[in-house]
Symmetry: C2
Subunit: 281 residues, 2 copies
């Protein structure tokens, strides 16, 4: 009986270190909290990633945490314990935290009890990208993250984060993107000149615009293309308008526009569909 009880408790006991971090003023905790701001992330070259699923995605993509924080009392479920054990085995510095200390780091409503400081991902764009997503002033972090998730799923070669867009390493963007940050090249750009230098000269710029004359499904997406998505509130920025071909998604009813993440995804998956159809032939 005693042995059975021990074997049930063992994983919990093993995760409970002798010395928990008990102060929210601990220097490591204070440094990690600074990663919730863009300024803090740029200064440190790190981001703070929270949750079992996102950390497992980062790990599987080859990202190695600088530091891991966990709260033994909050880390429930075998998946979380297994991930922590794996991180500990590889010699990654893992710090147990009292619940209040861990909560001072967490941004989610129901924290899963594990977070890690990771280097800011810097995946290289391929030399000859043929499908890029470009974000033009997307301010909503949920929409930006959903667009990154869709871009990866539709087979885009990378995402160019144009001026006026939310920082792609913002916590909410990272959560909505479901791991795309660790697998898809992202390039934040301060201005449109910088964007232009990243896009191959032969790449055609298409911008989603409800008033454009060209239907999105009549475009040849097998060519080298950039899909540019502007914000619902502010529309397309002038440098993009000058340089791009407008494309519209036909809409029934009295609908004036689509959600930005939906518009981008519909166009990206039409590109993926055409490319599959060509490959099938």
């Amino acid at each position: 009986m005693a042995l059975a009880a021990f074997s049930i408790l063992a994983p919990i006991l093993m995760n409970r270190p002798a010395d928990l971090l008990t102060s929210i003023e601990n220097p490591r905790i204070k440094a990690a909290r600074k990663l919730h701001t863009r300024k803090g992330r740029l200064a440190a070259g790190h981001l703070l990633v929270e949750g079992v699923r996102l950390l497992a995605d980062a790990w599987q993509s080859g990202m190695r945490p600088e530091t891991v924080f966990y709260a033994p009392e909050m880390l429930s479920g075998s998946e979380g314990s297994r991930l922590l054990a794996q991180l500990q085995e590889t010699g990654c510095p893992c710090f147990g935290c009292a619940p209040a200390v861990f909560s001072s780091l967490a941004e989610t409503v129901t924290p899963q009890g594990i977070a890690a400081v990771l280097p800011l991902p810097k995946l290289a764009l391929p030399a000859q990208p043929t499908l890029l997503l470009v974000l033009d002033g997307i301010g909503d972090p949920g929409n930006a993250g959903t667009l990154l998730r869709s871009a990866e799923a539709a087979g885009a070669d990378g995402v160019i984060v144009g001026p006026g867009t939310v920082d792609p390493f913002n916590d909410k963007v990272v959560r909505a993107a479901m791991g795309a940050h660790f697998r898809l090249p992202l390039r934040p750009c301060a201005n449109w000149e910088e964007v232009a230098t990243l896009l191959p000269a032969e790449m055609v710029w298409y911008v989603a615009d409800a008033d454009a004359p060209n239907r999105y499904d009549r475009i040849d997406w097998c060519r080298s293309c950039a899909v540019i998505i502007g914000s619902e509130a502010h529309g397309t920025s002038m440098p993009v308008r000058v340089r791009s071909t407008g494309i519209q998604i036909p809409m029934a009813g009295a609908v004036e526009s689509l959600n930005a993440a939906v518009a981008g995804s519909v166009v990206l998956f039409e590109a993926a569909r055409q490319r599959r159809a060509t490959a099938d032939r």
Copy 2:
């Protein structure tokens, strides 16, 4: 000079009634606040709609408010003043409110100073629908609203709100749907038997499922079809699985799933694309 000053102030002065509602305990205000809950909406047969754009959409769709509340100090911009004047002209009871009273009604972060009590929309499904969206346990109000917006834009005949889905008249759903509630038939159903009675016998049920063998772009969407979207967290419910053909959206990279609103929109716009292509022939 005096005349010029008056003409600038006139629209503001005209909107400022002699007797503002100044108590958040006013019976009309208390009754309107109850419409923020599903129970309150069902009991009254009304919903509370906030903001210039949504109210203008409701008005243009022929909805007539029971009561309008506005805060003269918060209602800025000519569009809001024009809408209020139009509502007042048609004899709709409009009550000016002190800012704190209006704020007690508002759910948005920056209220636009106008809200109205409207009858719960009850648009009839067409006798022979050929494209319906069915929501299967979509709990996130932003996703549910975005799906309604996309369904209208893609030309669906209506939306069946299956069990386990957020109430479609929830404030956040209404805001994300951008007026679709006033133009697109919606049918909340308590169980799957009820859903089945609403779908024509010949209608094929397709459910989005990342593990299904059939590619969504190889389906003939010109037939009579229901597009069923389940929740990312809980997947497809059993009654749907038994009855439906699974369809998958091919995904590149290590992406395991798409955002539910994105998956539904990609399938609905593929249906719209195929139907346009057939009509063009």
